[in-house]
Amino acid sequence: MARRTASVSAIGVAGEMVPQVTVRGPSWDGRFTVLILFLPPALLLFTLFVVLPIGEAAWYSAFNWNGFGRPTNWIGLDNYRFVLETRAFWLALRNNGLIIAVSLAIQLPLALTLALMLAERFRGAVALRMLFFMPYILAEIATGLIFSFVYDGDYGLVASIWRTFGAEPPHLLASTDTAMLAVLIVIVWKYFGFHMMLFIAALQSLDKSLIEAARIDGATRSQALRHVVIPLLYPTIRLSVFFAIVGSLQLFDLVMPLTRGGPADSSNTMVSFLYNNGISRMRVGYGSAIGVILFAICVTFAFTYKRWFMRDE
C-alpha cells in the first residue's frame, strides 16, 4: 500500500512514473473525503448494535433488573453465581458438548466420505451434491417443524414405522431420555451437506499430480487416500471442526420448534437456555450474565483454536 500511495502522488506531481522516492503525497486529494464519508456508517452501525450491547451485557449482568426504568439494584457477581448454580445451565453446556461430539464422530466422517465419492465425475454426482446440500439452505425453523412431524407420536413417520412392527409408537420429543438424541439426528441431517460441500470444494482444488505420483509409486487406492489425500485435507478438516463448534454454540432456531429445550431442560442449548431463562422472562441481569458467559466461551474458543490449529491460515 505504501508503494501505491507513493506512485499516485508521483504521477500526480510529475506526470510520469518515478521510483519510490517520495512517500505520501502532499495532498490528501479525495482520500480524506472518502475516509470521513465512507467509514463512519459501518463503524457506527457495528459499534451501536454489536460492540456496545456486549459491553452493556457485562454491565447489566451486575444488576437484578427486569428491564424497566434504569438498573439500580446492584448485586455484583450474584447473577453469575445463580447461573452456575442452575442445573439447567450445566445440562445446556453438556448438550453443546454432545452436539460437538456428534459433529466430530458422525457428521464429519459422513461428510468426508460423501465428498470423496461425489467429487469424482459421474452421472448424477452434481444432482446428489445439490440434494445433500438442500437441507442446509432450509430455514432451521422449517426443518425443526418438519422433524417435529417426523417424530410425532400419533401422525409422524417414526410412529408409522413403529406401528408396522406392531409396537406402541414412542413420543421421542416428549421424553427426557430421547429428546436430545432426536435433536442430534436433525442436526446431522441438516448440516452434513454443508460440510460435504466444504470438502468437495477442497478436493477439487487439490493438486492431482500428487495423488497420481503416489499411485505410480505403487500406493494402493486406500493408501493414497490415507497418506496423501486426507493429509492434504487437514486445513479443511480443521475449518469444518471450527464451524461445527461455532454452530453448536449458537444453535437455537432448530431447537425451538422441536422441543423448546424441554422436557425438563433436557434438550436446551446455551442459547435456548438463555432464551428460556433470560429473555422470555425479561430477567435482564440474569440473561446478560448467561450472555457474557457464552461470549467468553466463544471468544476463548475462537482465539485458542486459531492459535493452536489454524496458525497458517
Partner: protein, 282 residues
Amino acid sequence: MSNARIIRAPLDPSVLLKVVFLAVIAIIVMVPLLATLFGGFKSLGELRVNPFGLPRQWEWQNYADILFSARYWQLLRNSLIISTLTVALTLIVASMAAFTFAHIRFYGSSMLLSYLTLGLLFPAATAVLPLFIKVRDLRLLDTYFGVALPQAAFSLAMSVLLLRRFFKDIPYELLEAALVDGCSYIKFFRYVTLPLSRPILATVGTITFVNSWNAYLLPLVMLNTDALYPWPLGIMIYQGEYSSEWHLILAFITLTILPTIILFLLAQKHIVAGLTAGAVKG
C-alpha cells in the same frame, strides 16, 4: 481421480456398496421433505394411516386455503421487506467501508479492520437482551428497522472482509489512470468498483439475504405485532394454533419453504459458492 475405468465396471462390489450408500443417504434426505409436501395434500385421517406414500385422494383445498389467505402473503411480504432492508443496508455500508480499507492507507486502518472482524467471534444471541434494550431506547421496537439494523450490523464483519479482498484485486492501474484523468475516489467507487464487483456483491447479498430470510431469534425479540411478523415467526404461531392438524401445518411449511427452494434451484451455483466461500474466506 484415475479410476474412471473401475467405475464403469458394473459388478465391482465396492461400486455396488457405494451406490447403495448414496441411495440410502439420498432417501434419508428426501423422505422427510417429500412427506411434508405430500402430507399437505392429505386429509388428517389419511395422514395418520399413510404418512409416507402418495396421497390416495389429493386435497388441493389445504394448499388453496393458505394461498388465498391474506396471512400467508403478509408473512412473505414482511420477510421480503426485512430481508431486502438488511441486504441493502449491508451492501451499502459494507462496500463503502471495504473500499476505504482496500484503497486508502491511513493511520489505524488495520486496527479498525480487526475491530470490525470482532463481529465474527460471537453470535448475536450473546448480547440479545442489551440489544433489545437498545432498540427499545431508539424507539425502533416493533419496526422493520429494529430487526434489519442489528442484522446488518452482525453481517458487516464477514461482508467487509469478502468485499475488501475482491476490491483489492481490481487492477491498481485502473485507479491510477482514473485519478490522473481527474476522477475522484467517490466517482471511481460508484462507476468502476461497484460495476466490476457484481459477482462478489451478489455473493454477499445472497448470504445476507438467506440469513435474514431464515432468521428467527432477532425478529422474535424485536417484534410484538402479528402484522409485522416474518414467516418463521408466523409459522410457529400457525403451528401453535393448529397444534395437531398436521395436514394444514405441512401444507403451510411447504408453501413457506417453496420460495427458498425455487431460489436455490434457480441460483444454486451462486448460493453454494456464496455460502461455502463466505464460510471459508471468513
